[in-house]
């Protein structure tokens, strides 16, 4: 028997629910869930049948007819009769009454009692709270059916009494939900209270809590209805709460036990009825849970990578490009790369991006969030999310075409020819595996070496990236590392397969300012020492000025300006480049004048066919409404006429990285 009533399993994440507290919207969303509406409608239908049972049932459910005992399904008795000739179908229909009354009784008691105690004890806190939680733990250490049996004997026989007991047991989980929410709200209010002053804390507290937990209570309540029905059936089966005037599916099964062989319908029908109604309650709970946005099962990033293999990562066969001189393995050549979502004719996320990096060089991709920098990086690795694909263009590493390559080739390229470093160093490591294990696996992904050798390589890698005490730290877990150290581990892992090209996706953004420079210095040192070609994605222009050779400024999926860092920064030709420079605190060196760029990057489906920056551009004219090609490294029709302001001196950038 499952018990979703207890927290943890299907328990709804309360914090996730909070966002959807607006009651009308919640109701609307629940009504738009087919699962919730259909199961809810059937339950309503059952309620109608239960009320109208005397009109619907063909026979009196209690009237014996010994001459017709243990009959199978006949025209007169569709589901046959029981051992004393009572009509099974009629008993089943009357049984709905008992089941629904029992379930709703138990759940209403559970909610009222649980929420009430949760509010009281959560508010009282201190000793009362500690005792309350221990008692809750104790109640959950005893199986619900055991408590129900004992409580039934305490409260007195009869189903109504027995279900009071079940209600008390189920109250525990509602108590936990409510108490948890009270604690959350207390925390929030204590912070606020300082400002609110003598405002009535208690009133606010209780007013805030109920709307917040309402969706959770509804979901848990629906599931608890099913649970209560299962417990009711067990009690009936065991003969507790039996009353001769009431027909219950559990007691029907009890009676069926002796006549299983003679009349199996007696066993099958009530069991199916119980299963069906519990299923309905569960579906109702599921439907509501999904519609209020708590369903975590709808995602598909995993699908593409773990099931199919060998599927090409492009929607089109690779374009044949004549081989250039780019046979040095440490050369990454990206030309005309476009990425779309939604298949052929879908929305473009990256449009015709081209750049090239050679051994020992760094090319920076800069731009605001949402400009397609990271999407470009993922496309290079063949790690685009499902539903997103390269629609055009070419990515070559040392002459090997990656667009359209099979998964086998891509796997060989990843880590081995191209390494990648991610923004969030800690979350890029598995929390439950040691650093040594993760580094060894990265080593063993490309080299056939023993575990011991792999571990030795791992220690060498850690030393290479400047993690002190490398050997000992191999047995540590990611949470034992600081952000900066974890990023060094990330770099070590990216280097485990001796790649020629390194893609660093905002490698220092998540780090402390003091650590950023050191990690960046390490990257540059490694680039020079190992002869890597580095693609550096960042929005910190100071970093670019310090470390990159060339820069590609991206806006709304396009490269709008591409060239040597020195000349681009000194004499920007695209208004967006200038705007970025003006908005960068360190680089512009005129902090008092620091500007922000008005507006924001439009989402991909709003990208115009003309200049995509025109809406935010101070220099926009009518000419900007037609498509703009990249000419001499700049994508602006007015590039020649504009006199844009660059950096006064290049050295000015240094304060942002020290």
């Amino acid at each position: 028997m499952s018990n979703p009533v207890r927290p943890t399993t299907q328990a709804v994440d309360i914090s996730a629910t909070r966002a959807s507290a607006a009651p009308r919207r919640t109701v609307h969303r629940i009504l738009s869930s087919r699962k919730a509406v259909i199961s809810g409608a059937i339950i309503l239908g059952l309620i109608v049948i239960a009320i109208a049972a005397p009109l619907i049932a063909p026979y009196d459910p209690l009237a014996p007819d010994p001459s017709n005992a243990l009959s199978g399904p006949t025209a007169a008795h569709w589901l046959g009769t029981d051992d004393i000739g009572r009509d099974t179908l009629s008993r089943l229909i009357y049984g709905i009454r008992t089941s629904l009354i029992a379930s709703f009784e138990a759940v209403i008691i559970a909610v009222v009692l649980g929420v009430g105690l949760g509010l009281l004890i959560g508010y009282a806190s201190g000793l009362a709270d500690r005792i309350g939680m221990r008692v809750a733990d104790a109640f959950q250490a005893l199986p619900p059916i055991l408590l129900a049996l004992v409580l039934a004997s305490v409260i007195g026989t009869g189903l109504v009494n027995a279900m009071v007991g079940v209600g008390i047991i189920f109250a525990v989980s509602f108590f936990r939900i409510t108490r948890g929410e009270v604690l959350v709200q207390r925390e929030l209010l204590y912070v606020k209270a300082a400002r609110v002053g003598g405002f009535r804390l208690r009133a606010i507290l209780f007013r805030e809590i109920l709307p917040n937990i309402a969706p959770t209570l509804v979901v848990q309540g629906a599931i608890a209805l099913g649970m209560a029905l299962l417990v009711e059936a067990m009690l009936g089966f065991l003969g507790v709460g039996q009353e001769t005037t009431q027909v219950s599916w559990g007691t029907m099964l009890n009676a069926a036990q002796q006549y299983q062989l003679l009349q199996p319908v007696m066993t099958i029908a009530p069991g199916l009825a119980i299963t069906a109604v519990v299923l309905l309650f569960n579906l109702l709970g599921d439907g509501i849970n999904e519609s209020i946005g708590n369903d975590r099962n709808r995602s598909g990033r995993a699908k593409a990578w773990f099931v199919r293999s060998g599927a090409p990562s492009t929607s089109r066969p690779p374009a044949v490009v004549e081989t250039t001189a780019a046979s040095d393995p440490a050369t990454l050549a990206v030309s005309n790369l476009s990425v779309v979502t939604g298949g052929e004719g879908g929305t473009e996320l990256v449009s015709a991006v081209s750049f090239e990096v050679r051994r020992g060089e760094t090319v920076a991709l800069v731009g605001e969030s949402g400009c397609g920098k990271s999407m470009t990086a993922k496309a290079l690795m063949g790690l685009l999310p499902p539903g997103v694909a390269v629609s055009e263009g070419s990515v070559r590493v040392g002459g090997v075409e990656l667009v359209g390559a099979d998964s086998r080739t891509l796997r060989d390229v990843r880590g081995n020819r191209i390494g990648m470093i991610f923004q969030d160093s800690i979350s890029s490591l598995s929390p439950v595996h040691t650093i040594g294990r993760q580094l060894s696996d990265a080593v063993r992904a490309h080299k056939r070496v023993s575990r011991k050798e792999a571990r030795r390589s791992a220690a060498e890698l850690l030393t290479l990236v400047g993690v002190p005490n490398a050997e000992a730290r191999l047995s540590d877990y990611p949470h034992q590392f600081s952000g900066g150290m974890a990023q060094r581990v990330g770099i070590a892992a990216a280097l485990a397969g001796d790649p020629d090209v390194l893609i660093a996706d905002e490698p220092t953004t998540a780090l402390d300012v003091t650590i950023q420079a050191r990690v960046l210095d390490l990257l540059m040192e490694l680039r020079d020492r190992l002869g890597l070609a580095v693609v550096l994605i960042t929005h910190d222009l100071g970093v670019v000025a310090d470390s990159a050779d060339r820069v590609a400024v991206m806006y709304a999926g396009q490269v709008v300006e591409y060239g040597e860092v020195g000349s681009v920064f000194a004499r920007p030709q695209h208004p967006y480049t200038q705007a970025l420079l003006d908005a960068s605190p360190g680089v512009g060196s005129r902090v008092e004048e620091m500007a922000t760029i008005p507006g924001s990057v439009p989402p991909p489906w709003e990208w115009s066919s003309g200049c995509r920056f025109a809406d935010r551009c101070a220099f926009a004219s009518r000419a900007c409404s037609t498509a703009v090609p990249l000419v001499n490294g700049v994508r602006c029709v007015r590039a020649d006429e504009l006199q844009l302001r660059g950096l006064r001196r290049e050295g000015a950038s240094s304060d942002s990285t020290t």
Partner: protein
């Protein structure tokens, strides 16, 4: 060492829970409406006889005194003797509990293995035909009353096909093959709903895990996707499953009481139900306390397993 400290902390934390369990068990048992004295002597007994018996059974002392006596004896392993059979409650419980626990243990093993397996299958192809079929099966499994499933299994595999005995139980110590044959059907009946819970939990937590940054990072390092799935993602996804397992064990013990009656197995269930009906306080209190203790032990083991699986919760 951190694990030893974790074990000590958890052990200390479970003492108040155990005391709370003993209080609930004792006072609920005493609150039941059935008078053991009437049960033993019958309705017609004289009031003098009744008073004498109540005195004999120690029922005239204050409840607090009776609780204290019971608790202190229980700590020493003595749960008293049954009002009716005069057999030692501790001895009987050990016998009965071993039956119930062997069924629940097999059921847990089955449910975890099959549930986790199906969860992995569903999570790696979300939205596919296979996943939809599995999800439908899982949500139906959640709704199945285990005792009804037990009746169907007994009828079909026990009576019709004769593959397994439809009634009775052979202790594991007596005859292993006989035990396996008798334990299978009740264990399957318990395992189906619990396995559905595990499959559902595993599926959703694995899907969530496969969406994590480190999975993409591992792919970017060229690690084999099968390896990422089985040695990284599954291990991470199993961590939240642990607490679900401990909850399900408690539920399965309760469900086993009912399933045992279907198969006519003399487990803890029949002992408990009998004790409730007759007002056999020592038997009822002892059996309920034993169940509470087992669940608390299971929770403790799960907490330690959680500490092993998730390095973050280990005390530093």
């Amino acid at each position: 060492m951190p694990l030893v400290k974790l074990a000590r902390d958890r052990l200390l934390a479970s003492i108040p829970t155990l005391i709370a369990v003993s209080l609930i068990v004792f006072f609920l048992a005493r609150a039941t409406s059935i008078d053991p004295v009437v049960q033993i002597l019958g309705q017609t007994a004289s009031s003098a006889d009744r008073a004498q018996l109540a005195q004999q059974l120690g029922l005239n002392d204050s409840l607090i005194a009776q609780y204290w006596r019971w608790l202190t004896d229980a700590v020493r392993g003595d749960l008293g003797e049954s009002f009716f059979t005069h057999l030692s409650v501790s001895t009987t419980i050990m016998e009965r509990l071993s039956v119930t626990l062997s069924i629940v243990a097999v059921a847990t093993l089955l449910a975890v293995v099959v549930g986790v397996g199906l969860g992995i299958v569903g999570a790696t192809r979300p939205g596919s035909f296979v996943d939809n079929v599995l999800s439908t099966g899982i949500i139906s499994g959640l709704a199945l009353p285990s005792f009804w499933l037990a009746m169907l299994l007994a009828l079909f595999f026990g009576v019709q096909l004769g593959w397994f005995p439809a009634v009775g139980f052979v202790p594991i110590g007596e005859d292993f093959v006989g035990w396996l044959r008798t334990v299978t059907l009740p264990a399957v009946a318990l395992a189906v709903p619990a396995g559905a819970v595990f499959a559902r939990q595993m599926r959703s937590s694995l899907i969530e895990t496969l969406d994590k940054d480190y999975v993409v990072t591992l792919l970017a390092r060229g690690v084999n996707p099968r390896r990422i799935l089985f040695s990284y993602a599954v291990k991470n996804a199993l961590v939240p499953l642990l607490s679900v397992v401990s909850i399900q064990v408690a539920i399965m013990i309760g469900a086993s009481f009912v399933v045992e009656t279907v198969f006519g197995i003399q487990g803890l269930g029949t002992y408990l139900i009998d004790a409730i009906v007759k007002g056999d306080y020592p038997a009822l209190e002892g059996a309920a306390l034993a169940v509470g203790l087992v669940v608390i032990i299971v929770n403790f083991v799960v907490d330690i397993a959680y500490g092993v699986a998730n390095p973050k919760v280990r005390p530093q």
